[in-house]
């Protein structure tokens, strides 16, 4: 008997679709993957919705409405393993910037009848409502990391995803430190690796799209920014980016408000 193909489902909440598109971006792998697993629910690519339960559920996007909360709880029940993909699902995403503003004011401005809009006050990570088995970082995620995580879970092993900082990637690449050499403020020392130190290789500081590394020393980094001449506003904005609502970054940005 042919063994049953594992079922993978992709779910979307508030997001830009960039993370799930990384799956389509794995072109060479796509043709292979198509044979090895059953993509049971992937709206971006098909209307097919195969009923759960699923072996793996990939969740993209942040939770922004009461309906989202219900839906993500349902999804959790249907998935043996639940993985969040990207900064939106893992930390609330760039739209979490609205968590510092009055959402009512937003809807009034863009919408004639704001009473029709049903939205939570905040854009929240998936993990604040349901248990998440693995959080894949990035805005967007790195497709090789995604393939590694899928492979690991399908083979019941732990994914090998580095948790060190972007600084380590600069060293590995031989990129000159933008902060030491250029005096450019850079979130690299507090940000988890994954992008291959992309911004520093353009001689620009990292703005943290992979979110805080394990135990980041954000206050030491802020002090360093101050020495480089950055204002409180600059520091607040630097930490309040694509991972603004991730705890370590949120606290540091609030401290400079």
């Amino acid at each position: 008997m042919v063994p049953k193909k594992p079922k993978i489902a992709v779910f979307k909440f508030a997001s830009c679709d960039g993370c799930q598109l990384s799956l389509l971006d794995a072109e060479d792998e796509l043709l292979l993957v198509a044979g090895a697993v059953e993509i049971a629910n992937f709206l971006e690519a098909s209307r097919r919705v195969v009923k759960g339960p699923y072996d793996i559920g990939l969740v993209e996007g942040s939770i922004t409405t009461p309906h989202d909360v219900e839906r993500v709880r349902e999804i959790r029940k249907e998935c043996r393993v639940l993985i969040t993909i990207g900064a939106c699902a893992t930390a609330g995403g760039i739209q979490a910037l609205r968590n510092w503003k009055d959402v009512k004011e937003f809807t009034r401005i863009v919408y004639a009848s704001p009473e029709y809009i049903s939205t939570l006050d905040r854009s929240m990570p998936v993990g604040s409502y349901v248990h998440v088995d693995f959080e894949l970082r990035g805005c967007p995620i790195n497709k090789y990391q995604l393939l590694e995580v899928l492979n690991a879970f399908l083979n019941n092993r732990k994914p090998t995803i580095p948790t060190y900082s972007v600084c380590m990637e600069c060293k590995l690449k031989g990129t000159v430190c933008v902060m030491v050499a250029g005096g450019t403020p850079c979130l690299g020392p507090a940000t988890q690796a994954g992008c291959g130190a992309l911004c520093p290789s353009y001689a620009r500081g990292c703005y943290g799209c992979f979110g805080p590394m394990e135990n980041p020393n954000t206050s030491a980094l802020s002090r360093h920014f101050t020495e480089l001449g950055e204002s409180n506003l600059d520091i607040m904005l630097a930490f309040r980016g694509f991972n603004a609502y991730a705890e370590a970054f949120r606290k540091e940005s609030d401290a400079h408000e």
């Binding site: 830009c16 971006d25 043709l31 971006e44 690519a45 760039i94 937003f106 854009s123 001689a203």
Partner: protein
């Protein structure tokens, strides 16, 4: 009993949407609507950010066309700095814009639409997708996947990653180009050109096979809006706005993008988060217009690459004397003409020695307190307008997105299809899929158009002929 049929969410388009179809007592369609129910709030939460950050932030509006937002935002930044960017920077930005067209247009045709055409609208929905296509015609699917990859490769070679590259910046781009990278990309051209031609050939046979369906796909007159080059050629990065009516007459031309707000207004409706832009002189909703491939290929005087120009003439001939091509189904055709153009034009740019010049960025401080950026995103004209203070802190942001500009026309298309195919109470999967396919002609990108926070729960409304609310259901 009158009733409403809901299809939610619409699949194989980017993001989420909902359609409601309104029936009367006899089961005849009286209205059908395309609703968008995601709302993220970019315009508002960008207030207080720095102008320099906008290219990176607005690229997160959409994972399909991040590069279009990146470039348009950088252009609004150029305007605020009041600088002319180095010619090489413009050429590189043009190249990445074409790459965006290639990957997005290839995705639209091969991954999203061709399964309907090649496997049939009435085939099993479980396999009517890119995976089903791989199973049926692996070579065709493989070539389509590779053509999209070519577009993504250009973006990756220039910007180091495909989605949300930090490469463009107000004043230019961050890194000069290199010979080895150019040669690598040039080597792709023959294959890419051939696949674009294959797509066109395939689409033409589809035109024959679906000749009875096609007249129902959003066949109506509307205005067409887009950018054209100073000499009237098809344009994608710069130029001025031209407006054509459904009879093929140019009714406004050489409009400076800075005055777009004099020309276009934005209406809102209770039942959709997506706004309804319209051409002000004609009012709402008469000022309905279409943007994107169908509009661009209609309004331009010519295309400055040989193969695409040849195709454009065939396209034009379909319209008959002094008419624009008004059928929305031909969005697909126009899209593939543009795909071919983008490949040809990318080759020309790659062969331009100036593209290797190392001077790619002009530096300046804040010199103007307002800036506008405009470009042609794959789905149509994209506007970014920013108001800043002397330190470059954003005071106000306005974004007009291609998909929103097609909103009125998409609704009209859905209505036309519902009226043609829904008869009484029988609604087959084939009918539902035709309506979805009608929307897919426009290749709408809902992540973009809902740039504005969250998600509206499913919400179905029933109206009588006087637009009085008869009933409503929420869930």
């Amino acid at each position: 009993m009158s009733k409403t049929v809901t299809i939610a969410p619409v699949t194989r388009i980017e993001g989420h949407a909902k359609i409601t179809i309104h029936l009367d007592d006899k089961g005849t369609v009286t209205d059908a609507r395309f609703h968008v129910n995601e709302f993220r709030g970019f315009e508002k939460f960008c207030e207080g950010r720095l102008m320099w950050e906008m290219a990176g932030i607005t690229s997160r509006i959409c994972g399909i066309c991040p590069t279009s937002h990146l470039i348009t935002s950088a252009k609004a930044g150029d305007d605020i700095l009041a600088v002319a960017i180095p010619p090489t920077a413009e050429k590189l930005r043009r190249l990445i814009t074409l790459a965006q067209w290639i990957q997005s247009h290839a995705l639209s045709f091969f991954h999203l639409s061709s399964p309907d055409f090649l496997l049939g609208f009435d085939s099993d929905p479980a396999t009517r997708n890119i995976f089903g296509l791989i199973a049926k015609d692996k070579e065709f699917a493989r070539r389509g996947i590779r053509l999209r990859k070519f577009g993504q490769e250009i973006i990756e070679v220039l910007g180091s990653r495909r989605i949300h590259t930090p490469w463009a910046v107000a004043g230019g781009v961050r890194e000069p180009f290199e010979v080895s990278k150019r040669d690598y990309l040039l080597a792709w051209i023959p294959e890419a050109r051939e696949t674009a031609l294959l797509a066109l050939k395939t689409l033409k046979s589809i035109h024959e096979n679906f000749s009875t369906d096609i007249p129902n796909y959003g066949n109506f007159r509307s205005l067409f809006v887009g950018l054209v080059a100073p000499d009237g050629a098809l344009e994608y990065y710069d130029g001025t706005i031209r407006i054509m009516d459904g009879g093929g007459n140019i009714i406004a031309d050489k409009i400076d993008p800075h005055s777009y707000s004099d020309q276009f207004g934005e209406a809102t409706e209770d039942w959709s988060y997506l706004k309804f832009p319209y051409y002000k002189p004609l009012g709402y909703p008469q000022g309905m217009y279409r943007v994107g491939p169908l509009a661009r290929v209609n309004i331009c005087d010519y295309i400055d690459t040989p193969l695409a120009e040849e195709e454009r003439q065939i396209f034009k001939a379909m319209a008959g004397q002094a008419e624009a091509v008004n059928n929305s189904f031909y969005y697909h055709y126009a899209r593939l003409i543009e795909l071919l153009f983008a490949v040809e034009k990318a080759e020309a740019l790659l062969n331009d020695p100036e593209i290797l010049n190392p001077h790619v960025r002009s530096k300046a401080m804040i010199n103007r307190l307002m800036g506008i950026g405009v470009s042609e995103a794959p789905r149509g004209t994209l506007f970014h307008q920013y108001w800043v203070d002397e330190n470059g802190v954003l005071q106000k942001v306005n974004l007009i997105i291609a998909t929103a500009q097609n909103n009125l026309a998409m609704n009209r298309t859905v209505r036309q299809l519902a009226m043609r195919y829904i008869d009484g109470n029988k609604i087959t999967d084939g009918i539902l899929n035709r309506i979805e396919a009608g929307i897919r002609c426009f290749d709408p990108c809902l992540s973009c158009s809902t740039h504005a926070a969250g998600q509206m729960p499913l919400h179905v409304q029933l109206f009588d002929a006087d637009h009085r609310l008869l009933d409503e259901i929420r869930r």
